[in-house]
Subunit: 314 residues, 2 copies
């Protein structure tokens, strides 16, 4: 049977899904990345995932797609990954030689948002932006139906300045969107407010969730009319709205997909607030021409986008 393999290579786990040529899932396999055990161990974990799926019935793999955190060039070389020991590593070439099939490797957020695009609406819209709120803030640019990466790093929406002289960002710069709208920035803001002595459900929720606040906890506190939760959501919408309004002026796309765990947990409630703030910044008449939607695939977006990008190579 002719199949295509999608891989989502993350900092903690590797997910592989085998699809038939119509995009139907046939099998899946998950392994730990073991990133701290070095490059060779990581590669052997990737091979194990692929080999397990290859043995599925009479699967003949025609192409492989993969998303990886970090900077990836057009040839599938990973210049740098923040979580995995890839440094100028020719991942695409390695996989292609080993399995003798065409291989697509892209940045994980690019690949996942491309998956959302293909899932949501790839026929009606050709110019689409995806913006993703995770630990950081990332994005993807789709132009004429194709993923645009410029010289490799395009779509870093988290690192557009929204506030000159503003908050410091993990990248070293000042005023980046990511310093306001990432999960990391949100948690930092909540902790600061709690330290100041503000009363909020987040005290208990943070204890329950452990080191990292869950997206669902933000929703829970918001639904319980927690005042700090309302402030956090409004603040997130504010800065996201500034960015989204600017992006509408920059790209005038047909559709914008807002993705990530927090977005999916808050859904239309957050989307409406973001749209409302964007109207303050988009040029007259433009907002009405753009469709806004929340992502739907959650953790499945990566493998599905990888499958789609692999299929494009055939």
């Amino acid at each position: 049977m002719k199949t295509i393999l999608g891989l989502d290579i993350g900092g903690t786990k590797i997910l592989g899904v085998l699809y038939d040529l119509d995009g139907k899932e046939l099998a899946r396999e998950k392994k730990k990345t073991k990133a701290n055990e070095g490059l060779e161990v990581v590669m052997s974990q990737i091979y194990k995932v692929i080999d397990a799926l290859k043995s599925f019935e009479d699967a003949q793999i025609l192409a492989i797609g993969a998303g990886v955190p970090g900077i990836v060039d057009d040839n599938g070389t990973v210049a740098f990954s923040p979580n995995i020991p890839f440094r100028d590593f020719t991942l695409g070439k390695k996989l292609s030689e080993r399995y003798e099939v065409p291989v697509y490797v892209g940045n994980d957020v690019n690949v996942a948002m491309y998956g959302e695009y293909k899932h949501l609406d790839s026929r009606a819209s050709k110019h689409v932006l995806g913006i993703f709120i995770g630990t950081g803030v990332g994005g993807a640019i789709i132009i004429d139906g194709k993923l645009y990466t410029g010289q490799g790093s395009a779509g870093e929406f988290g690192h557009m300045v929204v506030s000159a002289d503003g908050a410091y960002c993990g990248c070293g710069a000042q005023g980046c969107l990511e310093a306001y709208a990432s999960k990391t920035a949100i948690q930092k803001y909540i902790l600061k407010q709690l330290t100041k002595g503000r009363k909020s459900m987040f005290s208990d929720l943070l204890e329950e969730d452990g080191a990292v606040l869950k997206s669902s906890s933000i929703r829970k506190a918001y639904d319980a009319h927690d005042e700090l939760a309302k402030e956090v959501v409004d603040r997130l919408a504010r800065y996201m709205g500034i960015a989204v309004g600017s992006l509408v002026n920059l790209y005038h796309p047909e559709m914008m997909i807002i993705g990530g765990g927090i977005t999916e947990a808050l859904g239309d409630l957050l989307l409406e607030k973001i749209i409302s703030e964007s109207r303050q910044h988009a040029m007259p008449g433009l907002m009405e021409t753009v469709n806004f939607t929340v992502s739907e695939l959650a953790d499945e977006a990566g493998v599905f986008g990888a499958y789609q990008l692999a299929q494009n190579m055939l």
Copy 2:
């Protein structure tokens, strides 16, 4: 002789240039736009320019290109122009029917920056951004060697937010780049400083120049070590640098062209300052991969871009 006609339709004048198929200028014609006399007068002025050039020797016009201030869609319909009485006006169709040739109509800044791109480096670079400092701040996006306009209005770099809660912009929004880096914003800043009682050459220069300060006057004051001029140039470079750094993160282009009268008057002196500020905002490693250059064609960019875009239709 086979020719192509480029038109630059401005708020005060219409410039037409006739080119041969190798881009050599054969003849030019200029008329007042007479925008305040209404649509029919404007159209008759445009026809006069074209007809005058059409009568050049044995010119056979194969295609017409035109740049117009305002919002233009893919079909050459001008949705709105701030200076000319075009409202949902099918300019492209009108010209195409009258002269029986293919006609390209685009936004004036888009068209001019495309002209700069073709003039400067259209072979080496495929992904290029042009950012233009004029009365406002505009831009153009070139992807895969083609002008990208999204749904019509892409490239409005003047209306990306650089400062949340910042200065009010003519568009109604707050914190737009245009509110800091346009000629209008610069003149406003200078007037405010003079009103505060600051001593500067700009007092005399403004009187000499009349209502609008000339770009050459900014250069003159800067070269004379005028303190306010230095401040104005540094402030311009600061906000342009924030925008340019963000744009590098968003598009990761191969080249960025900084254009407009002020840019051409200040040249590399301004460009170096902008690049230096951009480094504070672009992600690590990206600035080194982008070529920065100042525009070169000045007022000729519009007709030349129009010619190039018309030629693409053949």
